[in-house]
């Protein structure tokens, strides 16, 4: 299969170097959350402490931001799962005029720079005189989350054996019963994986959100304000670790649920 079963030293070094490049910054975030220093980003941290976790826990603005982000992500995910699953069901096997245009349309919100989706929604709200609200954020998020659910669902639907569906129909089940008893049980874990990734994507989104949130502060917007004008470095360090922990769980779960399908793509 291979011309040489062992990789050369240079190739190994370059490969593991790239992995280190990807992960050292993440490791640093965890270290800084325990840093006793609160005035600068000095390295190495002069001393280690866990006190900032307690301080961050007490912060109401952080809790408010986390709550808002959770609610936005939950609603956006719900909308994205319904729309993504329907689109995947329609496009999985059918071939018709405009099919490629539809999949392009679904991918467009993440293929075009986020600033364009953001400002497009912003100008639509402005033109229609729609005031900023919780729902203006959800509409934006749901739009770019659909493609994630769609990708996972369509990969699973393509693997689904059509003769199972035919067998179900032959045995006298109608279309709705077939969907409920045959298709959904097999599609379920792919939909769940898509939902988890959509949730992670929405929970983390900042570029579109800055255009559609008005004065509301989601967790990423809170984080962005701290990045531009650092006011409480230790609390920010802790929040950064919490965000990493909160997003790693759905990502790993989604990977585990779909590891037999095609690789997970955005």
């Amino acid at each position: 299969m291979r011309s040489d079963p062992r990789a050369s030293f240079g190739l190994k070094t370059a490969a593991w170097g790239a992995i280190a490049f990807l992960h050292i910054p993440l490791a640093l975030i965890i270290l800084y959350a325990f840093s006793a220093e609160d005035k600068s980003y000095v390295f190495p941290p002069p001393a280690l402490t866990t006190q900032w976790f307690g301080v961050a826990w007490q912060r109401e603005d952080v809790w408010a931001a986390i709550t808002l982000s959770f609610e936005v992500a939950a609603w956006s995910t719900a909308v994205a799962v319904v729309l993504g699953a329907l689109a995947a069901a329609a496009l999985a096997r059918a071939s018709f005029f405009g099919r490629d245009a539809i999949s392009l349309l679904l991918i467009l919100p993440i293929a075009l720079p986020g600033v364009i989706t953001g400002i497009a929604l912003r100008s639509a709200y402005g033109t229609l005189h729609i005031p900023f609200s919780f729902w203006t954020i959800v509409i934006g998020h749901a739009t770019f989350c659909v493609v994630v659910v769609f990708n996972n669902a369509i990969a699973r639907l393509r693997r689904l054996q059509p003769n199972l569906i035919e067998a179900s129909m032959d045995l006298g089940a109608d279309g709705f019963q077939t969907v409920r008893h045959i298709i959904l049980p097999q599609l379920g874990s792919a939909l769940l994986a898509g939902a988890l990734l959509a949730f992670a994507l929405s929970f983390d989104e900042v570029i579109v959100t800055t255009f559609t949130a008005g004065q509301q502060t989601t967790l990423p917007i809170w984080m962005l304000q701290e990045l531009i004008r650092p006011r409480q470095r230790p609390v920010t360090n802790v929040v950064a670790v919490v965000i990493i922990a909160l997003t790693f769980v759905p990502i790993l779960a989604a990977y585990w649920l779909t590891r037999a399908d095609e690789p997970v793509h955005r």
Partner: protein
């Protein structure tokens, strides 16, 4: 499979009739499935894009700052002024540099993952690439603020390795240097490469995985050196993957306005100009017109990538 027995004898009624109708009229089923997503995307998303397009042709009243809904091409004339063209040129240069660097870093890892890693190691490497791709953009940006700060880890490392002179020499370079790494174009560039690297690794890996091992054996049997095999066999066959990855690295760099705002000197990129024009300056029409620039550039780029076969690798 006893599932069928467990089902109630299919009820005659309405449900059956709808089911039969949808089964026999495939078009109707398709319409029922597609109507909700198409309505959402057609009305909300495309509607917004058209609102954006319309705004680009509106003007702004200099005294009241209100949008004037009259057709004008003034915004597009303004894009042509030297300061704005400079922004476009700088953004495109950055996007090209970031894309090329991502290819250089991603290729060895992608090649290792595709041809040498097996079993657990392969799964672990895949997760190691996917986790940063999906994990928080802002937290990763924050990590670089820590790394690049004057008192941060990179300065410390340079000091420990007695390489401070090298760092200073790097920072004193004209145009890309600056007072510290976090206030220089070098910093902006490094963070862009870091952020979009996973988007390059995964499609390149997929492309290399599809190259049959026999091609590489044939090449070496015919006397080609590994370097020649890489250049004549592997690279051309991996090109669609590279093109697919570059769509992300290029488009994401072009539209980002947060990274250069947090890490970098005060020079601006396309995304920042769009953001500031609609926010601080309150000139939505000009922001709308300027945001069409990355659409056009990305469009041209996609057309080039399509010619390289990038879409077969997505």
């Amino acid at each position: 499979m006893n599932a069928a027995q467990a089902l109630p004898a299919a009820a005659g009624g309405l449900q059956r009739r709808i089911s039969d109708l949808l089964y026999t009229r495939r078009g109707l089923l398709l319409l029922a499935l597609l109507a909700p997503p198409l309505l959402w995307f057609g009305v909300i998303y495309l509607g917004s894009l058209f609102a954006l397009l319309a705004n680009a042709f509106f003007g702004i009243d200099d005294f009241t700052g209100q949008v004037v809904r009259e057709f004008t091409l003034q915004n597009f004339v303004e894009i042509g002024n030297p300061a704005n063209l400079d922004v476009v040129r700088r953004s495109v240069t950055m996007a090209v540099a970031v894309t090329l660097t991502c290819v250089l870093i991603a290729f060895p890892l992608a090649y290792f993952m595709a041809r040498y890693a097996t079993g657990t190691q392969k799964a672990a490497l895949y997760i190691a690439v996917m986790l940063p791709l999906w994990s928080s953009y802002l937290v990763r940006l924050y990590a670089w603020k820590l790394l690049l700060a004057r008192e941060g880890a990179i300065s410390w490392l340079a000091h420990e390795l007695h390489l401070v002179w090298l760092l200073d020499a790097l920072l004193s370079l004209p145009a890309i240097g600056g007072p510290s790494l976090s206030f220089s174009a070098i910093g902006t560039f490094t963070v862009f490469v870091y952020m979009w690297l996973p988007f390059m690794i995964l499609p390149v890996q997929a492309a290399i995985e599809r190259i049959p091992g026999s091609y590489i054996e044939a090449s070496s049997d015919l006397g080609a050196s590994p370097a020649l095999t890489l250049r004549k066999v592997i690279l051309p066959l991996a090109l669609p993957g590279i093109a697919a990855g570059s769509i992300f690295t290029f488009s994401l760099t072009l539209g980002d306005y947060i990274i250069p705002q947090v890490i970098g000197d005060s020079t601006r990129y396309i995304g920042q100009v769009v953001y500031m024009q609609q926010g601080v300056a309150g000139n939505l029409p000009f922001a709308a017109a300027f945001s069409l620039v990355p659409i056009v550039v990305v469009g041209v780029y996609l057309w080039l990538a399509k010619r390289l076969g990038a879409f077969d690798a997505l």
